[in-house]
Symmetry: C2
């Protein structure tokens, strides 16, 4: 789990204590492994106290889930703000695009390093999957609230998560971010549209 | 983890040692929990020796993955047998339908109890997810071999797994099997087709 490519330069992080802790934690997880890193080490690297750490995060695991933990609530709020007359799949895609552009596009290095750390630990993978499942549940509920049946709502939610996950993985598979996640998302949505034309069920 | 509804009556299992061990293990997992069950207990319940157990399975965890472990290889073989001129999504759906009808439809009680046991243990959930991921990889490779690009192949694979998972979960959510998984699969494929008509990307 030592890979210079993934090292996050702290200077690139915004100045707030929370962001500094996130950057410092990820640096240490990449350098020496998730299991080997302690909260006091993270606080020290960030130039803060352990007490400050615990004002922001419950434990070292939670530091990795700050950015994405807001994702389901954001999607729910954005979709809730759209008029009910709005075509639901278009509303969903617009919400995904908005969150991608404002919350993900600038975080390539962080998200790539984060993915590599999560892959090293079963507990982290489990928590990541629970979060994906929560996102799916939120989208499903939005569709049900718009009057769609359970099956359609479930499929729409799984499809959206599927499209987003494929785009995110392809984006992070790049060595350097030549294109934004937004571009990958659009490409994936297009390919999904073409996949439909292959289906002659 | 004690629920009479899920208890698998051993008399309903085919007579081979392997099937008896699978039935006995699941009974014990449901009755007393996965962590609390030992290999000697499973062998005893099945009326066999521990030595026979280890001729069929590496450990008690593997007993739960006999049925589904064949799934990826079966899909790969079935899709490989279809002519390359065949529309790939249709080939995929036909393969899913064939495996569903021959391997899943008769196993409602077993699969429902199995799902409940897997949900109780992090290691089992992790292994289940790895298997779903393997199925997705196999389908993706089949599409790439048929000349489709990486993105389309990845989306097609995720979509197929998504459709199958939604159908399987809805099927197992029933208290009693009023309908077959094949019927749920067809319903889910139809709903997916209608979902596409909602997409105005």
């Amino acid at each position: 789990m030592k890979c210079r490519d993934y090292t996050v330069a702290m200077g690139r992080w915004p100045p707030g204590a929370r962001s500094r802790l996130e950057g410092a934690a990820l640096e240490l997880f990449v350098e020496q492994g998730f299991a080997e890193t302690t909260v006091p080490q993270i606080a020290e690297r960030a130039g803060l106290t352990t007490r400050t750490f615990f004002r922001h995060f419950a434990d070292k695991r939670s530091v990795l889930f700050g950015v994405e933990d807001e994702f389901p609530a954001l999607i729910e709020r954005l979709m809730g703000e759209m008029p009910l007359s709005h075509d639901p799949m278009t509303a969903l895609v617009e919400a995904l695009r908005a969150v991608t552009a404002t919350r993900f596009d600038g975080l390539f290095d962080y998200l790539k390093a984060r993915r590599a750390v999560i892959e090293t630990d079963e507990g982290l993978r489990e928590r990541e999957l629970r979060k994906v499942s929560l996102l799916s549940d939120v989208i499903e509920t939005t569709f049900i609230n718009r009057g769609f049946d359970d099956l359609t709502s479930s499929l729409a939610a799984h499809t959206a998560v599927n499209i987003f996950s494929v785009a995110l993985d392809r984006w992070l598979d790049q060595k350097r971010p030549r294109r934004t996640l937004s571009e990958y998302l659009d490409e994936t949505i297009d390919a999904f549209g073409q996949l439909n034309t292959l289906v002659t069920l």
